[in-house]
C-alpha cells in the first residue's frame, strides 16, 4: 500500500485563532483513515485545507502536503481546480444544502465529468446512471431529471458520493458524511463507502466525531484535540491501548449498550475545549487532564508506542488493558 496523501506540519489560522496546529497524518491507498475529535478541534478545517477550499480569511501553512507523490502546496488555483473533483473528491455533512437547488441531479453529476474529461453529454449521462445504480439508487434514469429537493437525505448523500466518484478519484475526503442522517441510513452509507474503497482501491479520509463509526470503518485513526493530532494509530491498537488521557476519556464517555449498568455514572471529561491563540505553548489538554503536571506547560514530546502508533503527551498511559 502506498501513501496517497501525506500531510505534515499543517497549520491553519483564522485571524488570531489557530484552528489547526502542526497536524500530520498519512492516508494510504485502499485504506480508510479517520480523523476523530469533538466540535471545534479543527478536523473539518483540516479537510478543507487539503482541498485548498478554506474561506478567504483562512491561512494555510504546511511542511508538506504530498498528494500522489507531488507536493500540492505550491499549486496554483488552476492546478488545484484540475485536481479537485478529478483525482481528489470530497463529500460533505449536509446533503440537503450541498447540492445546488436550481439544477437537476443529472446536470450536477455530468458537469464534473465534462469539466475534467473530454466526453459528450450522453457519455457523461451514461456514466452518471451507472454510478447511481452502483451507489444504490433505484431508477437512475428518472432520478437524473429530478431536483435535489425531490430526494430524501439518504439519496442525496448517495448522489453526492456518485458525484465524487464520477472521475474515479484516488482520494475521497468525507467530512461527517452521515451526521445529518438517521441511524439506519448511516449504516447503509458507511457500508457503501467501505465497499467502494475495496472495489476502487480508494484512499478515504473520513472526518467524524463518532467513535462508533471510527471503530467500525477506520483502518487507521488520528485523534485531534485543539487543532493537534494528539494520538494516531491502527484502529484496533488505539482502541485497545489508548495512550493519551484525552483519548481514554473520550472512549469512556461513550455509552455502550450492555457495557455500563444503569445507575452507574458515565465516564466524563470536565471542562470544555479551549480556543487556541497564536503563541500557545504546552499541552492544550492540561486544563482538563487529571494527570497534568507543571511539565505540561512545556513543549509536548512525541512518543512512539507501537507500530504506527504514536502519542503527543508528557504522561502517556502505556500500561496494557488499563481501560475502566
Amino acid at each position: 500500500m502506498s501513501a496517497i496523501l501525506e500531510v505534515e506540519g499543517l497549520a491553519v489560522r483564522f485571524g488570531p485563532t489557530q484552528a489547526v496546529r502542526h497536524a500530520h497524518f498519512t492516508v494510504h491507498q485502499g485504506e480508510t483513515h479517520c480523523i476523530v475529535g469533538e466540535s471545534g478541534c479543527g478536523k473539518s478545517v483540516t479537510s478543507l485545507a487539503i482541498m485548498n477550499l478554506l474561506a478567504r480569511n483562512g491561512h494555510r501553512h504546511a511542511q508538506k502536503i504530498i498528494f500522489a507523490g507531488e507536493d500540492i502546496q505550491a499549486y496554483s488555483d488552476r492546478q488545484m481546480e484540475e485536481i479537485r473533483g478529478n483525482r481528489m473528491a470530497m463529500i460533505f455533512q449536509e446533503p440537503m444544502t450541498s447540492l445546488n437547488p436550481s439544477y437537476t441531479i443529472g446536470s450536477q453529476l455530468t458537469e464534473v465529468l465534462r469539466r475534467h474529461r473530454n466526453v459528450s453529454q450522453a457519455e457523461a449521462e451514461a456514466r452518471a446512471m451507472a454510478l447511481m445504480a452502483r451507489v444504490g439508487i433505484t431508477a437512475p434514469a428518472m432520478r437524473l431529471r429530478q431536483y435535489p429537493h425531490q430526494l430524501s437525505g439518504g439519496l442525496r448523500q448517495r448522489v453526492m458520493i456518485a458525484m465524487a466518484l464520477m472521475c474515479e478519484p484516488e482520494l475521497l475526503i468525507a467530512d461527517e458524511p452521515t451526521t445529518a442522517l438517521d441511524v439506519t441510513v448511516q449504516a447503509q452509507i458507511l457500508r457503501l463507502l467501505a465497499e467502494l474503497k475495496q472495489e476502487l482501491g480508494l484512499g478515504i479520509l473520513l472526518i467524524t466525531h463518532d467513535l462508533g463509526i471510527v471503530a467500525r470503518v477506520a483502518d487507521h485513526v488520528s485523534v485531534m484535540y485543539a487543532g493537534e493530532v494528539i494520538e494516531s494509530g491502527r484502529t484496533a491498537d488505539l482502541f485497545a491501548r489508548p495512550a493519551h488521557p484525552y483519548t481514554r476519556g473520550l472512549i469512556d464517555c461513550v455509552p455502550v449498550p450492555g457495557k455500563i449498568k444503569a445507575g452507574e455514572p458515565l465516564g466524563s471529561i470536565p471542562g470544555t475545549v479551549p480556543v487556541m491563540k497564536e503563541g500557545f505553548q504546552g499541552c492544550a489538554f492540561r486544563f482538563r487532564c487529571a494527570s497534568a503536571t507543571d511539565a505540561c506547560t512545556q513543549d509536548v514530546p512525541r512518543h512512539e508506542i507501537g507500530a504506527q502508533h504514536h502519542v503527543l503527551c508528557h504522561h502517556p498511559v502505556t500500561d496494557k488493558g488499563s481501560r475502566a
Binding site: S152, R158, Q186, A187, A215, R216, G258, S268, T272
Partner: protein, 318 residues
C-alpha cells in the same frame, strides 16, 4: 402497582394541516397517531425513532405546547387540558435539545432560571433569589455565572441552566427532548450524569427522547419505539435490547455502531425508501422497508399485542 400513574397518555393523536397562504390546499400530516401509555413515578421512559417519527410532537403535546387533535394527557390522574398554565408549569417542565436556542439571549442566567417562579406570581423576590442561587449551585454553576448572559457560557453550561430552569418549580415530570444530542461526547456524559443524579435526589419522572439508542439504553427504565407516528414496540429497557420483537426495532438496534473495533458494519437492508409523514403507506407503515413483510402487511393495519406483561408490540409477525 395499583397507584395512579403519574403520567398517562390516552389515544393521543396529532394531525397538522400544512399551512401557507389564505387559500392553500390543506394537506394532512399525521405526526402522532393514536398513542397510549402510562408511566409510574420515578421511572424514565425513553422514546426512540428516526427523525419525523413524531417523538418531538408527542413531547410537545405532553408539555401542552401542542394541542392534540384527539386524546388526552393525564398528569396525576388529572387531564392536562383542565390545568391552567401555572398549574401545568408546577407539574411538567421541559429540557430542550439545543442549548443555544433554549435560552433567551437577552436575559441573565438568573432571570432565565427564575422565570417559572416569577410567572407563578406568588413568590416573594427574596424567595426567588434564594431558590435561584440554590439551584445554580446544585447544577454546578457559580453565582457569578448567574449574572452572565447565555452567550458567555459553553454549551454544557447552558444545558445546566436549562435543567435548573426546569427544576426550580420542583415539578414532578421532566420532558427531556434530545437533551444531549447537540453536545460533544465528553460534555454529554456530564449532563447525563447530572440528570440521573437529580432524578434520584428529587424523585423525578423523565420522558427521555433520543435518537441515540446507546444513551437511551443507559438512562431509560423502559423504552418506546416510534415509527411514522405510531408506537410500534414498547418494553422494559433490558428486555427490549435483549429481545427486540419488531423488525424496525431490530433494524434500529442493528444500526447502532458501538466503539468496538473489528465488528464491522451491520447490513440493515432497509432500502432507499424514506418514511414520509405526508404520504403514509397503507397497512403497516413499516412494510415498504420491512425485510420480513407478509402480504397482509400491505393491506391490514397490524394488531396491537402484548407478548409479555410489559411488552407491547404492533406487528403482523409473531
Amino acid at each position: 402497582m395499583s397507584t395512579t400513574p403519574i403520567l398517562s397518555v390516552s389515544h393521543l393523536s396529532c394531525q397538522f394541516k400544512s399551512q401557507g397562504g389564505l387559500f392553500q390546499p390543506t394537506r394532512l400530516l399525521r405526526a402522532v397517531d393514536d398513542i397510549s401509555f402510562t408511566l409510574e413515578e420515578g421511572r424514565v421512559l425513553g422514546i426512540v425513532g428516526e427523525s419525523g417519527c413524531g417523538k418531538t410532537t408527542l413531547a410537545r403535546m405532553i408539555l401542552g405546547l401542542q394541542k392534540p387533535s384527539s386524546g388526552e394527557v393525564f398528569v396525576q390522574g388529572a387531564p392536562l387540558s383542565s390545568l391552567d398554565r401555572r398549574a401545568r408549569a408546577r407539574l411538567i417542565q421541559p429540557v430542550f435539545q439545543d442549548p443555544f436556542s433554549s435560552l433567551n439571549p437577552k436575559q441573565t442566567i438568573k432571570d432565565i432560571i427564575s422565570l417559572p417562579l416569577r410567572a407563578q406570581g406568588t413568590f416573594e423576590p427574596h424567595e426567588i433569589e434564594r431558590r435561584t442561587a440554590a439551584l445554580l449551585e446544585r447544577v454546578g454553576l457559580s453565582l457569578e455565572q448567574g449574572l452572565r448572559v447565555p452567550s458567555e457560557l459553553s454549551g454544557g453550561q447552558r444545558q445546566r441552566v436549562a435543567i435548573a430552569r426546569a427544576l426550580i418549580l420542583e415539578p414532578r415530570i421532566v420532558i427531556c427532548d434530545e437533551p444531549t444530542s447537540a453536545l460533544d461526547v465528553s460534555v454529554q456524559a456530564q449532563i447525563l450524569n447530572l440528570l440521573d443524579e437529580l432524578r434520584r435526589d428529587l424523585k423525578l419522572t423523565y420522558v427521555f427522547i433520543s435518537h441515540n439508542l446507546a444513551v437511551v439504553e443507559h438512562v431509560a427504565s423502559e423504552v418506546m419505539v416510534m415509527y411514522l407516528g405510531r408506537m410500534v414496540e414498547r418494553n422494559q429497557t433490558a428486555d427490549l435490547f435483549k429481545t427486540p420483537r419488531h423488525p424496525y426495532t431490530q433494524a434500529l438496534l442493528a444500526s447502532v455502531l458501538t466503539p468496538e473495533p473489528g465488528l464491522g458494519l451491520p447490513d440493515v437492508g432497509l432500502g432507499d425508501i424514506m418514511p414520509d409523514p405526508a404520504h403514509l403507506p397503507t397497512g403497516c407503515r413499516f412494510h415498504p422497508r420491512c425485510l420480513k413483510a407478509l402480504p397482509q402487511c400491505a393491506t391490514q393495519e397490524p394488531p396491537l399485542r402484548k407478548p409479555t406483561d410489559h411488552a407491547v408490540l404492533e406487528c403482523h409477525l409473531t
